[in-house]
Assembly symmetry: C2
Homo-oligomer: 460 residues x 2
């Protein structure tokens, strides 16, 4: 019963962030006017519309926009991951380039260059419609002149290995790239630009999603240079990279467009899909199914197995004491956890979270937890995550499996597959990070007594 | 202002779990009858009252009981940690033994033996009043005949190093000890026994607190032996230990008293103070101060720095989106985190949690988080924890300190001392694990804009 409810909750959450539906909701033609991002344009007055779509959901998003705008489109370009354009019905004037992700490749390089070429034609009476989804950054690699793609990648890897934050990494990358950090918007000027953005970054920072090609960049060459200094990488990065940054520092290279720049007066960035929308749909559905529900946060981060212990703690408090809601009840969180890989097993952050939660909740009744990657792909597996309950560990042991050993080896997949707790949905077509749903059933005499005995159970 | 509110919240929480006050609340004489634990005894009909108190709060608890019961007391014994009986006014007939904690010593051994001697005199028309608080297990070490205290300790250490759970550890220890696992209650029989228990264990499992000397033990010699087998320790533990457990397996040693045993018909265990009581007082106070408040859970566990990231995620969701409450608001959790020590620095789990939360919340306005060890002693330091806010990291950097390096070295104490964020309260006299209070102030235009810029901030 808890599992049936979790299925409904999951389906509603994924529907709420369907990329094509999100585009359709935010793009409307009413009496000859195109309404989008709180603005409107007379289609009669617009000379041409250009459609640029990049990211893992680029094809369905462009198809949805194409349904409405095909008669007005001058040209369009979709850059998406290999095999991600299959099945999308796109207007004839929209070109598709499939490219490498997460490792950028030459196809992506060509796609990014093609975007710049297309924008070179745009003029003030045009409208540029940009559709962005997760993966857009890797799919549109376009290093500054003098720096090659492998050199850009080597710099990224050095920073990641040094423990640089995403903000630091972006300050550097935006100053080594030709589209990131508002530069796509600059290329579109003087044409007005509307960007519809599906967020795959926790907290929805628009300057980070797809590296913010349509968003002002407050960081400078000085910041980028300072970051390299902070991690002692100035002489480690390729010479072309340090040469470019030094030239930028000396004012010999153009800066990325800054907040307040005039060009942004004609740029409209609109978030059309996010983890929170999925989470809110989950909340609404859980409530409709009779579970009082709280949305705790959509900023969830941290090591998956430790976040699992907090999730289990919440489930126990709810079950035992009615904190923060009396059972039956539901708690929804969103965000994205990480896994520090220690073993050689098969799994993903949601599967690992689910297994660790199962360990912490062994023997507890009427509690189920769903950990879900909304894109359907949790880690390098074909699973989206898992739904576990208080019997998962017992069922695993009955099959001769060892939950703690599986966790130690980052090997959640085979165990959860064996117990039937794995979620295999196939690619969902969207990507707004992860959802965590804790569902606690009504209080029963059995559950009460099981919990009391729980104190005495020795776990193998 | 947030810090003032946190001070009031903290004081109310600690007042709610004052051990002496808790004993006074649960022990009353009304018209010649002693009311305690839902039962009542005619003082005229009772022949003698025996008072046994063990744990870090044993002295103030016994003093509170003594205020009421001194005229009826036959004898009493307090076993507490060194320097923890200072200042308590105890009835003359109550003997005090100070002993080693957390490492048991000979004084504790003598104290435990003295308890058994005292109980040898108790009879059916007597009442045995037992007061238990955290530390009671280490303070009352009494190995079974043939096993020495160092051998018992060596066994405990082997199990801990092998990754045994607390339930597994207890199954073994209860079968190597003479008071744990309900055996103190058996020694008191046929006298009725009332135990008033201050919980220092997350979730308040009565069989774990002070190793459950008055609570039935569902584990057996077979369980204890299986645990040693599971960790391949059967030939690692001292020979006297394995010999005793084998003899128990063969039925040649008495089992610990089991659930349902007749003797427990006259045993009344009453929880008189817990983390949840402190948390509820915190909630009540925060609400009175104008902050809508939720108690999230009192089962909090996990690696301190990772739990911190979840706490920060909750604060951000509250601040930015009004999840799960609109600001101003407060979230209270309780439990106890752990620290995997990697560096050689100075700190404790609450200080480390606070510093990691400060990192995650750098630049956020109108958010403060208090991480508090309710006993006033967080790790091996004189601090109880810390109160951090969105300016902690900036203030630390202005002093030339490096928050991430401090965290990497488990060295939160000096940094938080320098920023003035450390909480130094001295010993509080109680111990009900930790509290985590997230306080978010009212929405302000400054806070709004600061958060927006937060996306662009590069953290050093």
């Amino acid at each position: 019963m808890l599992r049936d409810a979790l299925k409904e909750i999951r389906e509603a959450a994924l529907r709420a962030v369907d990329p094509a539906a999100a585009v359709r909701r935010h793009l409307q033609i009413i009496e000859g006017e195109l309404h989008v991002a709180g603005e409107s344009w007379s289609l009669a007055a617009l000379e041409r519309i250009w459609l640029l779509s990049a990211g893992k959901a680029a094809a369905p998003m462009a198809a949805a926009a194409g349904e409405l705008l095909e008669p007005y489109l001058k040209a369009g370009l979709v850059v998406t991951k290999y095999a991600h354009a299959t099945g999308a019905t796109l207007p004839a004037r929209v070109q598709v380039i499939e490219a490498g992700h997460p490792v950028p490749d030459e196809a992506g390089h060509r796609g990014a260059a093609a975007m710049l070429e297309l924008l070179a034609e745009s003029a003030s009476r045009d409208l540029v419609l940009v559709l962005l989804s997760g993966g857009g950054s890797a799919l549109l690699p376009l290093p500054v002149p003098g720096v090659t793609l492998p050199e850009l990648q080597a710099t990224t890897e050095l920073l990641l290995r040094s423990g640089a934050t995403i903000a630091e990494l972006n300050a550097v990358r935006k100053h080594l790239s030709r589209l990131k950090g508002g530069q796509l918007a600059r290329a579109a000027a003087p044409a007005p630009l509307v960007a519809l953005i599906l967020s795959d970054v926790v907290g929805d920072p628009l300057d980070v999603i797809a590296s913010g090609p349509t968003v002002p960049d407050p960081t400078t060459y000085a910041d980028a240079w300072a970051v390299l200094g902070r991690y002692d990488l100035r002489s480690e990065v390729p010479a072309t990279v340090s040469a470019h940054l030094r030239a930028g520092l000396a004012g010999e290279r153009p800066e990325t467009p800054k907040p307040g720049a005039a060009l942004f007066e004609q740029v409209y960035n609109q978030l059309i899909g996010s983890n929170r929308q999925a989470a809110l749909a989950a909340v609404e559905t859980a409530r409709r199914l009779g579970y009082p529900t709280l949305l705790l946060t959509t900023f969830m981060e941290g090591e998956a197995r430790e976040v699992a212990r907090v999730a289990a703690a919440l489930a126990k408090g709810l079950r035992r004491h009615g904190d923060p809601l009396k059972p039956p009840a539901c708690l929804v969180w969103g965000g994205e956890t990480t896994v520090t890989v220690r073993g050689a097993g098969k799994g993903g952050r949601n599967q690992e979270l689910a297994l660790a939660a199962a360990q912490a909740l062994a023997g507890w009744e009427e509690i189920a937890i769903m950990a879900l990657a909304t894109d359907g792909t949790d880690g390098p597996t074909d699973a989206a995550g898992a739904v576990i309950d208080g019997s998962t560990v017992r069922r695993a042991r009955e099959l001769g499996l060892k939950p703690q050993a599986a966790l130690d080896q980052n090997d959640a997949y085979p165990l959860l597959a064996a117990t039937g707790d794995l979620l295999r949905l196939g690619p969902t077509g969207t990507n707004v990070n992860d959802l965590l749903v804790i569902l606690v059933g009504p209080e029963t005499p059995t559950a009460k007594s099981a919990e009391r005995n729980q104190n005495f159970t020795i776990e193998a």
